[in-house]
Amino acid sequence: MRKKVMAVLVAASMVLSLTACGGSGDSSSNNTEGKTETEAAGGENELTVWCWDPAFNMYAMEEAEKEYQKENPDFKLNIVETPWADVQTKLTTAASSGDLSSLPDILLMQDNAFQKNVISYPDAFADLTGSGIDFASFAGAKTAYSVVEGKNYGVPFDNGAVIACYRTDILEQAGYTVDDFTDISWSEYIKIGKDVLEKTGKPLLSCLSGESDLIVMMLQSAGASLFDEEGNPSMVDNAALKEVMDTYAELVKSGVLVEVNDWDQYIGTMTNSTVAGTINGCWIMASIQTAEDQSGKWAITNMPKLDKAADATNYSNNGGSSWAVTTNCKNMELAEDFLAKTFAGSVAFYETILPASGAIATYSPAAKSDVYSEPQEFFGGAPVYAQISEFASKVPSNNTGVYYYEARDAVATAVTNIVAGADVETEIAAAEDTVNFAMGK
C-alpha cells in the first residue's frame, strides 16, 4: 500500500512540476524578450508610447515619428494600442504597486484625469517645465489641464473646443439659418428651439442622460467650476451652477433637448436625422461625418451662453487629451526633444495630420496655417477648422481639481433627480455632500 501512496504523491507532484516547469520555461524566454525591449527602449533611439485611436492619436504619433526621423533617421517609436480605460488601470496598478517599470516612455492622458493622476502619483510623471517645450504656444485653457502646482506635466494634443452643430436643411424648414444661433443666449436658444420643434417636430439637441458633459460645458463657458482655487467643492451658493441646472431642466421640459440612454443612441439621433443639431466637443464632427448622405447639410457655430452669469461666454471645452512623459523613461532628453520638435514645434506636422484625421491642434501657430482655412464641403463650404481654432483661443479655464470625476458623477446624479422633479438646491447640496464625503471631509 505504501508504494501506492508514493505513486499517487509522485503523480501529483509531477502535475505540479509540470506547471512549474511550463511556467518558468515560458517566463524565462519571455523575460529575455522583455529585457531586450527595455534595453532598446531605454538605451538607444526608441520610445514606447501608449495611446488608443488608430484613426486619430495613433495616426498622429506615427506621423510625428516620420517628422522626427527627418532629422534623426535612427529614431523609432513603439506605439502600443491601449484603450484609455486600460491606460488608467495599468497606470494605477503599476504606480500603486511601486513598480513603474512596466510603464511606457510617453502616454496619452485624458485632460479630465490629468490632475488626479499627477497628484495621486507624483513620482510617476516627469516635470516638463524648462524642458525646452514652448507651452506658451498652446491655448491657455488647454494647457491648464496638465499644470499642477505651476509645473507643466503634459504636452497638449487634441482640441476639445465646444461647437454647436446644426442641420441647415431642418432649420430652413422652420425659417432659420445658422446665423440665428450665433452669439445667442440659452433663453434665445430655447425660444427658437420650441419654434423649430413645433414646425418640424425635431428637437434641437440630444444628450446622454446620467452624464454631466453638457452641465460642465455650460458651467465652464462662464468661467465657473465645481471647485474653488483651493480645490474644495464649490457647488452650494454657486450661482452659475444653479443657473445651469435650471436651464438644463427647462431644456428637457420644453422638449428642445431629448435625453437618450447611451452613446450609440446619441450618435443615432444625428445620423437618423431625429434631431436638428448637437452641442459637444469639436471631435463630434468625425461621428457626424459618417453620415455621408448628409454632406452639405451641416453648419457649425459657437454655443449659447448663460443669460445671467457675469462672465458668460459662448465658448467652452469638452474632452481632449495631452501627452505625459513617465519617470520610467530612460532617455528623457530624447522624449522631450521629440515632443518639442513635433507636437510642440512643427506646423508642417499639424498640416499633415489635419486632413487625414481631423485632429485639430491646440498649437496656436498651426491655426494660422492655410490648411486650417480650407473650406469643408460637408459643412457647407465653411472653413470649420479655422473657426474651431478661434473658438479654442476664447475658452475660459476650468478648475478641474483632483476630485473631478467624483464631482461630475455627483452632479450627474443631481441633474437626473432634478429633471425627475426634485428641488434644485437640495440636490446641489446633496452633490456637494457626496464630494465632501469622497474627499474624507
Binding site: 499517487v8 501529483a12 440612454n261 447611451d262 437626473t416
Partner: protein, 297 residues
C-alpha cells in the same frame, strides 16, 4: 489485534493520498488568491492615496455604512439576488429536464441556442438590450401598437424598470450556462429510473420535483453558491447596460469598488474594506446554502 490496526493505517494512507490529490490546486489558490486577499485585508485597515497609506483601524468599515452610494449599491445587489437567482435556476432546471428527453428532436440545436447568450460578447448584447428598451425601441413600438402605451416609456430612465431590465438581462445571459451543469449532472442519473417512474404513472411535475431536483441536489448547491457569488459581485451589466443610472438606482457594489479604484482618486483601503464586506456576505450565504444542501446520503 492486527485487523483493526491494518485498517487504521489503510485509511490513514488513503487520507494522505487524498491530500496529495488536492495539494497542487491548494498551493495555487494559496499563492494566487489567499496571499493577495491577505494583503488586501491589511490594506482595508489603512487609508490614503497612492503609496502613502496610513493605519486607520476600522475607519473604512465604519465609513462604508455612512456612504449613501454604497448603501444604495448594497440594496441594489440584494434586489438582483432575490429576484434573479431563483428564477434563473428554476428556469435552467426546467430547460435541462426538457432537453434530457431522449425522444426530443433538434436537441443539439436547442442546447446550443440556449447556451449562446453567455458566449455572446458583452459589447453586442449591451448594445442590443439598450436599443430594444430605448424610447423609440422595439419594445415600446410593440407596446404602443398594441395600445398598452400611448407614448414611449423610458425603461432605462426609471429606477424600477431599469432594475427589471438588469434582472432580465442576467436571466437571459446565465440560464443556459447553469443549464449546462444540470444537463451534465443528469447524465449521472440512470435514465431507466425515469422510465420506471413514468410507467408507474408519475406526472412530469412529480418526476421533476420528486426525482430530478433531489438527484441534482449537489449540482443545484454548486450553481446556487456560484450564482449568489456572481450576483453579489455583479459588474458587467451595471457598467454596460445602465452605467449605474438613473441616479445610482442600478449601481452595484463591484461597480462602485471599481470606480473607487480606477475612476476616482484611488482609495484602495476603502475599496478593500468594501470588498471584504462582499466576502462576508457571500460567505454567510454560501455557509447557509452548504448547511442546507451539502449532505451525503
Amino acid at each position: 489485534m492486527s485487523g483493526p490496526n491494518k485498517k487504521l493505517t489503510l485509511s490513514r494512507k488513503q487520507n494522505l493520498s487524498g491530500w496529495a490529490f488536492l495539494t497542487p490546486a491548494a498551493i495555487l489558490i494559496a499563492a494566487m488568491s489567499f496571499y493577495p486577499m491577505f494583503r488586501a485585508l491589511i490594506l482595508s485597515f489603512k487609508t490614503g492615496v497612492g503609496l502613502n497609506m496610513k493605519w486607520a483601524g476600522t475607519y473604512n468599515y465604519v465609513r462604508m455604512f455612512q456612504d449613501a452610494v454604497f448603501m444604495q449599491a448594497l440594496k441594489n445587489n440584494f434586489i438582483y439576488l432575490i429576484f434573479q437567482v431563483p428564477i434563473m435556476l428554476v428556469l435552467a432546471l426546467v430547460l435541462a429536464s426538457l432537453l434530457n428527453n431522449k425522444d426530443l428532436r433538434f436537441k443539439g440545436f436547442f442546447r446550443t441556442a440556449i447556451f449562446l447568450p453567455c458566449a455572446t460578447s458583452l459589447v453586442s448584447y449591451a448594445v442590443i438590450f439598450r436599443s430594444l428598451f430605448a424610447v423609440d425601441g422595439l419594445i415600446n413600438t410593440v407596446l404602443i401598437n398594441t395600445g398598452l402605451l400611448s407614448t414611449g416609456y423610458n425603461f432605462l430612465g426609471h429606477a424600477t424598470s431599469a432594475r427589471i431590465i438588469i434582472i432580465l438581462a442576467l436571466i437571459w445571459r446565465w440560464t443556459g450556462y447553469n443549464m449546462v451543469f444540470y444537463l451534465s449532472g443528469l447524465q449521472n442519473i440512470e435514465y431507466s429510473i425515469y422510465e420506471a417512474a413514468k410507467i408507474d404513472g408519475a406526472s412530469p411535475w412529480q418526476v421533476f420535483w420528486k426525482m430530478t431536483v433531489p438527484l441534482l441536489r449537489p449540482t443545484i448547491l454548486l450553481t446556487a453558491i456560484m450564482s449568489t457569488n456572481g450576483t453579489l459581485q455583479l459588474f458587467d451589466e451595471s457598467v454596460n447596460l445602465t452605467n449605474g443610472g438613473p441616479a445610482n438606482a442600478t449601481i452595484t457594489m463591484s461597480h462602485y469598488i471599481y470606480n473607487m479604484s480606477f475612476k476616482y482618486v484611488p482609495n484602495f483601503g476603502y475599496a478593500a474594506a468594501m470588498s471584504y464586506l462582499i466576502l462576508i456576505l457571500v460567505a454567510v450565504l454560501a455557509f447557509l446554502q452548504m448547511k442546507a444542501g451539502d449532505k451525503r446520503d
